[in-house]
């Protein structure tokens, strides 16, 4: 029995066609004019306990609307959501007890106070037993080193520190499910890595189910096994990260440094996509051209000083999917 079950989820927005000004807004209030927009169009999926799932999609694709429905902020137009048997909207408060939410762009910490004050408050909001509170605080300090800035007012913290504190705050009550909305936005590389590592650890040790929305593909690659791609309100992919790489990341790029400048390379199936001095970037399909053959041929013809073979970044693949360059095979969906 999956922990999260979503069936035929639909969300229509009634967009207020707004008029400007006070009189205009009173008019819109009394005689509302609406435009319908389907933000989420018949989405279904299920997530098991302990899974880590990344939601990705371009802006306005419907992913944050979906997350808002899962967290009980929005009511679906139709379709069902069940989180461990509860409806996030109808059983909002009960459901909230089992949920942790991190909004990357918005903090839940009291701005003018040390973070520890918010933690103390959360202890009462979620009725966290003293023992668990202590345990978690120690754990979070070990992994995120939050104690070093716990007693400074939140407004004085760096973005990385604040995010660490925010994530700890959302996890304080041992939620069964955590939603991360852009958890690494604006962080530097080291801070990002620290956050990801922490997330992985918690998932492993506590078996917490985790859902992400993010723009940073690295977040997904480094934490999730599964990802759901949403575009124009529908799921266009639901499967493992490796799978999408294997199926669509079939091109390889060979970066070769030649002893002298070469004007043209004429090998079938190989395309020069960039050149810089004696260096050339050569793209080919891995099932058309064998790397070893290609290297052999190049060495024979021109000689090679140095070379590397690059796999396509998942980011590039996703970009192509959005742009319609890659057509997702229907059968691929829901492989897991």
């Amino acid at each position: 029995m999956p922990l999260i079950e979503v069936n035929n989820l639909v969300k229509d927005y009634k967009l207020n066609v707004r008029k400007k000004g006070l009189l205009g807004s009173i008019h819109s209030l009394l005689v509302p004019e609406y435009k319908m927009k389907r933000a989420v169009d018949n989405i279904s999926f299920s997530i098991n306990k302990g899974e880590m799932v990344g939601f990705i999609g371009p802006n306005g694709a419907g992913k944050s609307t979906t997350v808002k429905m899962l967290t009980g902020i929005l009511v679906p137009t139709s379709g069902q959501i069940s989180i461990g048997g509860l409806s996030p909207h109808r059983d909002r408060r009960k459901n909230a007890m089992r949920l942790g939410v991190v909004f990357g762009q918005r903090t839940q910490l009291w701005w003018d106070l040390p973070a520890i004050d918010t933690f103390e408050l959360l202890r009462y909001i979620y009725k966290i037993p003293e023992k668990i509170y202590r345990q978690n605080m120690n754990l979070f300090n070990d992994l995120l080193e939050i104690n070093e800035f716990m007693s400074q007012p939140v407004r004085q913290l760096s973005l990385g520190q604040r995010m660490r504190a925010d994530i700890a705050a959302a996890l304080l009550h041992n939620p069964e499910i955590i939603f991360f909305d852009e958890p690494t936005i604006g962080l530097d590389v080291i801070a990002k890595e620290k956050v990801r590592e922490f997330i992985r650890y918690i998932n492993r040790e506590k078996g917490t189910t985790m859902l992400f929305t993010t723009h940073d593909m690295q977040d997904i690659e480094k934490t999730c096994r599964r990802m759901i791609i949403i575009d124009e309100g529908t799921t266009i992919y639901d499967g493992t990260v490796e799978h999408i790489k294997e199926s669509y990341g079939t091109s390889r790029t060979l970066v070769a440094d030649f002893p002298e400048v070469i004007h043209s390379i004429d090998i079938p199936g190989v395309e020069v996509i960039e050149e810089k001095g004696r260096k050339k970037w050569l793209r080919f399909q891995k099932d058309e051209v064998q790397v070893s053959n290609l290297i052999y041929e190049l060495t024979q013809k021109y000689g090679i000083i140095d070379l590397t073979v690059q796999e396509p970044e998942i980011e590039g693949i996703i970009r192509e999917i959005y742009q319609g360059g890659i057509k997702i095979d229907e059968s691929l969906c829901r492989v897991c």
């Binding site: 949920l99 939410v101 003018d112 004050d117």
Partner: protein
């Protein structure tokens, strides 16, 4: 399946105190600023008191109201406003929560929405500012207008102050609710509230009938200070009103709150079907 509440009354009360502690701590982060704001509010509110005082020094009484009675009437406005911003400032300012997206966070917490709104804010500066002016006026007048402060009168006084606070909170909450429909109403709200309050500084008998009706039935400020004051002063002009009005403030507060609460529920429903107001 019986619905067992997640929190009992006692837990909610303790949590309310925790929230209050954090609010007060936040305020104390800016001790100097906040003190200065309180002083400024006292100055601002004292202007109308001083004007009234200077007029009464010159004319002794207006329409049979002498200055102790006038200031006694006025003190209700300050004291009830003070209670209102100390306990219900969140209801006044909650439109900001919607604009900032903070309301989404409120929806993901295992607590009642109105509870969180009320718990989230204390406006100590305004509470103290208005409170100081109110206490000065009250102590100067309450013992020289012939009121016998027996138990009954004291209890009714407290009830009336709370009713006044609830009436004002309801007016503000009503206006804030429009933000669920993405309408900015700060101006309209301030205009309605503060103009009504301006009228209420003086006995409503000073005004033409239509304004009196407005202050009784539309923006019922008459139940914040005029009728409560008349309960104690019993000036002859009260005979032109129905006697029952003197006791009606708590009922007006309760009814207003219930109506506005229903409107608010409607707003929340609208919000959760449309999402952000941005």
């Amino acid at each position: 399946m019986g619905k067992k509440p997640l929190f009992n009354i006692f837990e909610l009360f303790v949590l309310l105190l925790k929230y209050a502690k954090l609010s007060l701590k936040s305020i104390l982060e800016y001790k100097f600023d906040r003190t200065f704001i309180t002083i400024a509010i006292v100055c601002r509110e004292m202007i109308s008191v001083v004007v009234m005082f200077l007029i009464l020094v010159r004319f002794v009484h207006i329409k049979g109201w002498e200055y102790n009675e006038m200031f006694f009437l006025y003190s209700f406005l300050f004291l009830s406003y003070s209670i209102f911003v100390l306990f219900f400032a969140g209801m006044r300012d909650f439109a900001e929560m919607i604009y900032s997206g903070e309301f989404d966070r409120v929806l993901t917490r295992p607590l009642g929405l109105m509870y969180q709104i009320i718990a989230s804010k204390i406006d100590l500066s305004a509470g103290l500012g208005h409170g100081i002016v109110g206490v000065i006026l009250f102590t100067k007048t309450a013992f020289s207008v012939g009121i016998d402060w027996n138990i009954k009168n004291i209890v009714y006084y407290i009830v009336i102050l709370i009713s006044g606070a609830v009436i004002q909170a309801s007016i503000f909450l009503f206006a804030s609710c429009f933000s669920f429909w993405t309408v900015k109403t700060d101006n309209l709200r301030n205009m309605i509230f503060f103009n009504a309050r301006r009228f209420s500084g003086y006995p409503i008998s000073f005004y033409p009938g239509i304004i009196q009706k407005l202050l009784m039935f539309v923006i019922p400020f008459a139940f914040v200070n005029y009728f409560p004051a008349q309960f104690y002063l019993n000036k002859a002009e009260i005979n032109s009103f129905w006697n029952g009005f003197l006791y009606l403030s708590p009922a007006v507060g309760a009814i207003m709150f219930v109506l506005v609460y229903m409107f608010w529920r409607q707003g929340v429903r609208h919000y959760s079907s449309t999402g952000t107001s941005r």
